[in-house]
């Protein structure tokens, strides 16, 4: 049943054997053991599993693994700089106190990263739109939005 697929994961070309019934999330967490990407609801409602595929934020829990073939996929692990530092966006989340329990944060960061890659200076409405599919039960979103804004403002 297993099939071989090739794609780019965090700027590295990977070749991996997969079962077609897997989701991309399963592959990332169980095979690559990249557990930064979380499974929340598993139904595409909460956004904890968000990754960036070809520049767009996507729920990896609903993404059939076979569709990953040939695509550029970036996870939260891929944001680390060469010398092991945090991405400016991650730093802003820490500095602004946007993280409480932290479970939603990898998804939040991937969603806002996709926005900041696309738009130089997003408006507050665009920031809200970018994270509308990410549920956070701790923070009330205000500091998360502040954190994304500070990154945009510093540009």
């Amino acid at each position: 049943m297993k099939k071989e697929i090739t794609f780019t994961l965090n700027n590295e070309k990977v070749i991996v054997e997969v079962d077609p019934k897997w989701t991309l999330l399963y592959l990332l967490r169980e095979v690559f053991e990249m557990t930064g990407t979380k499974e929340g609801c598993g139904y595409g409602e909460c956004g904890a599993c968000t990754v960036i595929i070809d520049g767009q934020a996507v729920n990896s829990c609903l993404y059939p693994v076979m569709e990953a073939e040939g695509r550029q996929i970036v996870t939260i692990e891929g944001l680390m700089t060469k010398d092991g530092d945090l991405d400016p966006l991650q730093k802003a989340f820490v500095d602004e106190g946007a993280v409480q329990c932290g479970f939603c944060i990898p998804g939040m960061i991937m969603s806002s990263k996709a926005l900041l890659d696309e738009k130089e200076k997003p408006t507050e409405d665009e920031i809200k739109e970018s994270i509308e599919g990410n549920l956070c039960r701790c923070t009330g979103y205000v500091k998360i939005i502040d954190a994304i804004k500070t990154v945009a403002d510093r540009r």
Binding site: P20, E45, Y63, E67, E132
Partner: protein, 324 residues
Amino acid sequence: MKGYEYHKPQTVKEAIDLMEGLENAKYIAGGTDVMVLIRQKKLVPARLISLRNIGDLNYMETEGGLRIGSAVTHNSIAKNDFVQRRYSALADAAKKVGSLQIRNVATMGGNICNAAPSADTACPLLVLDASVIIAGKTGEREMSLDDFFLGPNKVALEKGEIVKGFTMPAFGENTGSAYFKHTRRQAMDLPMLGVAARVTIDIGGSEVGCKDAFCTVDSISNILKRLEDEKLVCEDVRIAMGVVAPRPIRARKAEEALKGKVISEKLFEEIGEIAASESQPRDSIRGEAWYRRDMVKVLTKRAILKAVDRVIRPDDTIWPDRLW
């Protein structure tokens, strides 16, 4: 979870041939409905046939109307300038589906073929006179979207057939459209009610438009009052409602009552009443029937006003939507 095989055909013909030769197979496009059903074990296919890699389903042409392939994602529709301007109701709806993560993969074809009574893009397509292009083993056929919906989750597709895309006629500058979705929260919610309207105004050769300085800051109600003397006539109108019946429906009596009349806010209120009398909402977890029927009045009026607004003030998005 039981396993399934995953096929990735490159052409429509290949996909249809695959479907014919395989037992217990299911088409999958964006997967935001199918994958959820599989994970909930409500759907146990032995094979999935992906429509995502078929180039022939992914097109958007704007000459002499609008033609959209079924594999076009909601986000690319919502972001398209031409659709926003000329087919505004469709852009309104595409922008409101699920979340950004969902809109990046979920397709128009999927939204329509799933045929939920609450499908957001259904109402706009109905008011924009869309027809459906269906590809089957024996060739292609075309039918109006109104005939395509049969009931909840039922559409007029024979086994193996694929919706290739949607075709909408061209509308002039004197046509505007809008879609309003009523939800409890702004994102990630199904509508408890959705209403779309398209209005074509008879401008009799002259230019309609609000020209005085208040235009950019005033509400459409006030502007209509100032334009009262011009006797703007509604040349053509379509109203469609979602969630108020087993399938998205047109409010035909309301359309009849508005067609050919001089437009005014008071008339729109009456049209809302008629549309509400045509709706058959039921109690559900998202809202009660009496409330939905009452809201049909409000949203119908709002959608018509917004459509008229877009004819009169095409260039400015001035009056913030948030005030609605």
